[in-house]
């Protein structure tokens, strides 16, 4: 198995079959195994060896004798004898590397020059530094070209972004000015409106009084009519004409079968008589009639009991989402009524009496006041509209689109990514979403939160949080790794933790100079 695996590891790197077993070193300066060029002078075969921490001096033959003399491990740079030693591989043709000494002779080829594995006969590590180096240089070249192309595009993006920002700022100045003007107009209109309304009010005073009187008169007429109707009914119901309406007299009338069981029970009848066994006319009119009237109206088809309102399905609840719909038990049916179909008291349908016509003078005042009110409403709306526009621009200006506004033009756009199950969408500075290919319910994976890359470049990563909650889990959130590329494109989406998504997004806006490899390998002292 081991052999197979190792073959794989190297064959995948197109290596030649030549095997170079590093013996002492591969460069021209002689030095013990595992020692970097910069430290070669510290290992002088002519002299005793002084541990780097000055703790001990040992004969030079004890360097790399596979016995750890120095507490700092400096006497065993080429073996695994010291627990915290460091092994240096030169890796000529590629990048030099420092290894923990525990990687020396552990059966794994760590150095591309193979120098870390020399003691086990179960493994040979060929020198593949040339291939790796070439590969790395090609890769670096490719990256450099990509960055170059990307930076070019990024410059355009930045320019556009800055221009956009300038435009917004200019617009803001104009809007602030417009707002001032609109406020002024609004005030003016308010003043006019207030004055005209005062005049209108005064003129209308007399009409209000008249209207009140009319209302009162109508109410009295209504009451009289009601009484008349009640009295008529009383007479009709009082079939034995004894001056009382009794339970038995109601029991003959199907109208009063509240529970619709085919007969009018004593209780039902009593209900209508306001819990009396019999009522005389006056009581009938005041106490029984309000109970009876609705049923008579219902019978006559004049009145229908209110239909229980269907609970309108609430709009897609942002916090629940698709799974909730799958899981949720059907909404409880409306509580059934207690079996009785009891009509509510019909609202006394008091129709507002038609307003009395105004005289010409008054009408004129009313019209002018109305006109002033409309004018004021328009002025008020104009201020609000401007304020909204200002807020929008301020929001925009507060957003961090990168040091050179390079991300600005991504706002308002959306980028899709499909895997075998879902279509994901990234709308930069707005949201991330997920749509099942087999469904239509879009799930919000997060709303724009903030840049949250590491301190040295926070623009490496975006956070979209407060998405829809997972069923019995946290709110969804997404991280978007932003990397340099020549197009704007989502290249992968995964869910490394449940309900936490990871998008990878390439964009020229992320192209920046790659920090050149600081090669500290020669000066690690």
């Amino acid at each position: 198995m081991e052999l197979f695996a190792r073959n794989f590891k190297f064959s995948s790197l197109f290596l030649s079959s030549s095997v170079i077993l590093s013996v002492i070193c591969t460069s021209e300066v002689p030095r013990p195994r595992g020692v970097s060029l910069s430290r070669a002078s510290l290992y002088n075969p002519e002299r005793n060896f002084l541990c780097f921490d000055n703790s001990k001096t040992i004969p030079f033959v004890q360097v790399n004798d596979d016995y750890c003399d120095c507490p700092d491990g400096s006497d065993e740079p080429g073996t695994s004898a010291c627990p915290h030693g460091i092994f240096h591989c030169t890796n000529a043709g590629h990048k030099p590397m420092n290894l923990a000494s525990s990687r020396v002779n552990d059966g794994v080829c760590d150095c591309c020059d193979g120098s870390d594995e020399y003691a086990r006969n179960t493994i040979t590590c060929p020198n593949i530094c040339m291939q790796l180096g070439r590969h790395a240089r090609e890769e670096a070249q490719r990256m450099a070209e990509l960055v170059k192309a990307g930076k070019h595009l990024k410059a355009e993006l930045s320019q556009r972004g800055m221009q956009l920002k300038e435009e917004k700022k200019e617009k803001l100045v104009v809007l602030e000015k417009n707002k001032e003007e609109a406020e002024r107009v609004k005030q003016e209109k308010q003043q006019i409106k207030d004055e005209l309304e005062a005049a209108e009010n005064k003129a209308l005073e007399i009409y209000r009084k008249m209207e009140d009187e009319e209302k009162k008169r109508k109410a009295e007429a209504e009451a009289a009519k009601n009484r008349e109707e009640a009295t008529e009914t009383f007479v009709k119901f009082d079939s034995n004409q004894d001056g009382f309406v009794e339970i038995s007299e109601l029991q003959t009338r199907q109208t009063f079968d509240k529970d619709k069981n085919g007969e009018v029970s004593v209780e039902e009848a009593r209900y209508f008589l306001n819990n009396e066994d019999a009522v005389e006319l006056e009581k009938f009119v005041t106490d029984a009639w309000p109970n009876i009237k609705p049923y008579l109206m219902m019978d006559a088809g004049l009145f229908k009991p209110p239909v229980p309102q269907e609970e309108s399905p609430s709009e897609a609840d942002d916090l629940q989402g698709d799974e909730a719909d799958e899981e949720e038990a059907p909404q409880d049916e409306e509580e059934p009524d207690e079996g009785e179909d009891e009509p509510e008291q019909p609202e006394e349908a008091v129709e507002e009496p038609a307003p009395l016509p105004y005289d010409d003078e008054t009408q004129k005042l009313v019209d002018r006041a109305t006109f002033a009110r409309n004018e004021f409403a328009d002025a008020e709306r104009a201020v609000r509209d401007i304020e909204a526009e200002i807020n929008n621009i301020q929001d925009y200006l507060e957003k961090d689109f990168g040091p050179e506004e390079e991300f600005a033009s991504l706002q308002g756009e959306c980028f899709d990514y499909s895997d075998h199950e879902y279509i994901y969408k990234l709308c930069p500075f707005e949201k991330t979403t997920q749509l099942p290919k087999s469904g239509s319910m879009e799930t919000r994976l997060g709303s724009w939160g903030r840049w949250d890359g590491p301190e040295d470049n926070k623009y490496e990563s975006m956070l979209y949080d407060k998405g829809q909650s997972c069923w019995n889990g946290p709110q969804r959130s997404s991280k978007v790794k932003v990397v340099c590329g020549v197009t704007n494109e989502v290249t992968s989406v995964t869910e490394p933790n449940r309900c936490e998504y990871l998008f990878e997004f390439v964009t020229p806006a992320a192209c920046r100079e790659i920090a050149s490899d600081v090669d500290d390998l020669h000066d690690e002292l």
Partner: protein, 848 residues
């Protein structure tokens, strides 16, 4: 993945509390309620005319007469090797299911060479024990030269035609104060007293209990019906050879230690273990159900798992990060989502499109892969595993004869009938490289989960119904508790066949029973990221070790929820001292691979894992010795110090072998912990993280910081380590050893070490190097233990010898001091590591 989360979310967790609506207490189980409150009665007496002695067969047979005449019984007592006895009681014409597949091979029956016949009793007399059968009231009393040890009490024997097949019996332990055993419960090491109106009886019914509770007698995933009665003078035990549902009422206390066992069905078949020490009782039990074979060395390394690494790239990243951040790792695991729609023996074609390349990648850094394979089979025409099993009629049936179908991870599933040898063969054949596509030897082990078996139906306690039918018409209730055992048996055979018997299989199982140790390691199932669960991981695995299943661990960090950084660090430190060392977590938890934390936390976790790797030779040697002498790998204090009554309840300390004492830190934010040092003032314990030395016996408050937990070497021990830090066990193979010699007052110390090819069964044919190491001052003597062992190729290489010498004795609880000297050369100036001894005899090395 999301979809499954939604559908099964309810079944997975949520809530810290087990679902008592689903999982029953005694009051909701008919036979338990009925039997629990039966008062003892003088129902049975021996029919003296019926006694049949079969001296050669070692059996004594007689009838029990029911005073009412309706429930007469027959008793068979068999004398076994090692002064163990088997007692079988059932109706004369019984059609009860006689359990198979559990005992390890044939029993060694000894002849009854002496039986004393009295008018009202018979007594079987052996060298070590007397077994007296009292005629009326009926009882069977086991007596050793230390007095009466164990009594099967006739007044609590209940067979009743009205109870269908349910029965009950009582056992008293006259010498014991405390009962132990009956894995698996999330409870302290010592069993609690249970009683009507108090704690429910301990239940043994393998169930998929999510969010299980601590300190509870509820059933969990596995059942080992073994009870030890332990007192300061003697330890005895019983093993109930029965796989049906059981409830055990426990009473502890001087002169009143007893158990009352209620069983749903199957046979009353009890093995009596007469000790007299805990070690002997354990050996007697393990003699019946077998030892674990040696694991391959890598299985003792660190395992990293998660539900789920979502793709091959994700997995490769995780493995690469272990290397980048310098964490040793041997095995990466894949949970259910690697499969194509939870169809086992397949790969998800999208997320795991190139499993072979992935395995090569894993292997390139000397790691291995374990994947999950469950016993439920997706009902889907065209799925080869399903189609073949359907065609050959290998599924468990409903009572009406149709194939049982129930919900599990894949949706509608049927369940392999592992009681059927054909089904075991069939299932095992899918592990072959041909039948499990895209697998290579890098897929080095298998994880058998959900094998209680789990069925997503709360109305049947999330498992198969009792009236489901197995091969040969056997009702599921009769064999329920061995379903998981048989599952792993099939898997074990599959892995043996796959590699032509050249590799020791590695299997991890959730459900288990007596005998599981022959096939598989276990873990404690879906625990939680809580301090209490860290603590219970010790008591559960100590219990399992006393009951033969030595290869035990718990999910490091806790499966459900998210551990604090402190808890996670403590868990890595404690988990390193359980035999199976794996981190695993739920899909809804945050990722917590060790490289994801800040450098301080990383350093603590790295140290914990490295300490594990340094002690791999100890672990490997103890596992070998288990195969030889049946001893537990980790041991509670009472096992090693049985006469010390103060240690009976200590479950958060363990001894690895005899020589390493570990105290898990299971408390948050502490600056010191109470450590119990056993063994009296003669015993000294040498701290591995300071120069302190402690003496027994008693609790001492020991300072701790986050860097480590208290670990001690016993005075007089030689601990054989490999201190060169590597990134996997494979990479350590060529490294030499460091001997840590902890000198006693005579400047002596000793230990053992075992080496072999780490992989094959050749050790069974004595291809190994097993040595005794004696240190005397600066002389190290190595003695080959087995003259006939072939140690070619297994040279014992010593890099250095660390000699720890006590220079100030501890006194009155104040720790003493020791100093350390490191030797790398002999008096002749030769480097130790260059000495490649061939040990044909005895070699003494003189250090300088």
């Amino acid at each position: 993945m999301l979809r499954f989360c939604l559908v099964f979310a309810t079944l997975l967790s949520f809530g810290q509390f087990a679902d008592h609506d689903t999982f029953k207490d005694c009051a909701r189980v008919n036979f338990c309620t009925t039997l629990r409150t039966r008062t003892p009665e003088n129902k049975y007496s021996v029919d003296s005319d019926s006694v049949v002695i079969d001296p050669d067969g070692g059996q004594l047979k007689f009838d029990l007469l029911d005073t009412n005449g309706s429930d007469n019984l027959q008793v068979i007592i068999t004398r076994l090797e090692g002064d163990n006895f088997r007692v079988q009681i059932q109706e004369p014409d019984s059609d009860r299911y006689q359990l198979q597949d559990v005992l390890d091979g044939e029993l060694n029956v000894l002849p009854n060479d002496k039986i004393v016949i009295d008018p009202d009793s018979y007594t079987i007399v052996t060298d070590g024990a007397n077994v007296t059968i009292q005629f009326s009231p009926f009882s069977i009393e086991f007596t050793t030269n230390q007095g009466p040890q164990l009594v099967l009490d006739g007044t609590r024997l209940i067979f009743d035609k009205n109870l269908d097949k349910a029965f009950a019996f009582g056992v008293t332990f006259p010498q014991a104060y405390q009962l132990y055993g009956i894995h698996e419960h999330a409870d302290g090491l010592a069993l609690q007293t249970t009683q009507v109106g108090g704690t429910d009886p301990y239940r043994l019914r393998n169930l998929d209990v999510s969010g299980y509770e601590l300190n509870s007698p509820m059933s969990l995933y596995g059942s080992i019906p073994v009870l030890y009665g332990h007192g300061s003078e003697a330890t005895t035990g019983i093993f109930l050879h029965n796989a049906a549902e059981q409830w055990m009422e426990i009473t502890n206390g001087e002169d009143n230690t007893q158990a009352y066992v209620m069983v749903e069905s199957g046979a009353l078949d009890v093995f009596v273990l007469l000790g007299p020490t805990p070690a002997e009782a354990v050996r007697q039990y393990v003699g019946l159900t077998g030892t674990a074979h040696l694991p391959q060395l890598w299985a003792l390394g660190y395992h990293q798992s998660r539900w789920n690494y979502v793709s091959q790239d994700d997995l490769k990243d995780v493995v690469a990060n272990f290397t980048t951040y310098d964490f040793p790792l041997d095995v990466i695991w894949l949970d259910i989502d690697y499969t194509d729609g939870k169809k086992y023996f397949t790969w998800d074609p999208n997320a795991f499109s190139d499993p072979v390349e992935m395995q090569q990648n894993i292997s390139a850094s000397n790691k291995r892969l374990v994947t999950i394979i469950d016993p439920h089979i997706k009902v889907e025409q065209g799925y080869n595993v399903y189609d073949g099993a359907l065609e050959q009629d290998l599924f468990v049936k409903r009572a009406d004869g149709s194939n049982f179908e129930g919900d599990c991870w894949p949706g509608l599933s049927s369940y392999m009938d592992f009681l059927n040898p054909d089904a075991r063969d069939y299932y095992s054949s899918f592990y072959s490289y041909d039948n499990f596509p895209s697998t290579t030897p890098v897929l080095a082990g298998i994880w058998n989960d959900m094998n209680e078996p789990s069925v997503f139906d709360n109305s049947i306690e999330k498992t198969l119904p009792g009236d489901a039918v197995h091969h040969g018409g056997v009702a599921h209730r009769d064999i329920h508790n061995i379903y998981g055992l048989l599952h792993t048996k099939s898997t074990h055979q599959g892995l043996i066949n796959r590699d032509n018997n050249t590799k020791r299989p590695f299997i991890l199982t959730r459900s288990h029973f007596a005998g599981t140790q022959r096939y598989s390691a276990i873990w404690t199932g879906d625990n939680q990221a809580e301090w209490g669960h860290l603590s219970v991981s010790y008591s559960e695995c100590l219990d399992a070790n006393l009951l033969g299943i030595v290869f035990c661990g718990a999910d490091v960090g806790g499966f459900s929820n998210n551990p604090s950084e402190e808890l996670l660090q403590r868990w890595y430190q404690a988990g390193a001292w359980l035999p199976f060392y794996r981190a695993h977590s739920d899909s809804s938890s945050q990722r917590r691979e060790p490289f994801l934390f800040n450098e301080d936390v990383q350093a603590v976790i790295r140290n914990a894992i490295q300490l594990r790797y340094k002690h791999l030779p100890v672990w490997y040697t103890r596992f070998y010795e288990h195969t030889r002498n049946r001893d537990p790998i980790i041991r509670p204090l009472f096992y090693q110090y049985p006469s010390n009554v103060d240690v009976y309840n200590i479950g958060d300390h363990l001894l690895l072998g005899d020589d390493i004492l570990v105290r898990a830190v299971t408390e948050s934010g502490v600056e010191s912990v109470q450590v119990y040092f056993p063994g009296g003032t003669d015993e000294h314990w040498i701290s591995i993280s300071s120069s302190d030395v402690y003496e027994g016996s008693g609790f001492i408050d020991v300072p701790v910081d986050i860097q480590g937990i208290p670990v001690y070497y016993r005075k007089g021990s030689v601990i054989v380590r490999k201190d060169t830090l590597r990134l996997s066990s494979d990479e350590m193979v060529g490294d030499g050893h460091t001997l840590h010699a902890n000198l006693d007052a005579d400047n002596k110390a000793s230990g053992t070490v075992y080496l072999d090819d780490n992989t094959s069964f050749n050790y069974v044919n004595k291809e190994y190097n097993y040595l005794k190491i004696d240190v005397d001052g600066t002389d190290v003597t190595l003695t080959k233990i087995d003259d006939d062992a072939n140690s070619d190729g297994f040279d014992f290489v010593i890099d250095d010898v660390v000699v720890n010498k006590i220079i100030k004795k501890p006194q009155n609880g104040i720790p003493g001091k020791y100093e350390t000297k490191i030797y790398k050369k002999t008096v002749d100036g030769q480097l130790l590591k260059n000495l490649k001894f061939k040990f044909n005899d005895i070699v003494t090395i003189k250090l300088a």
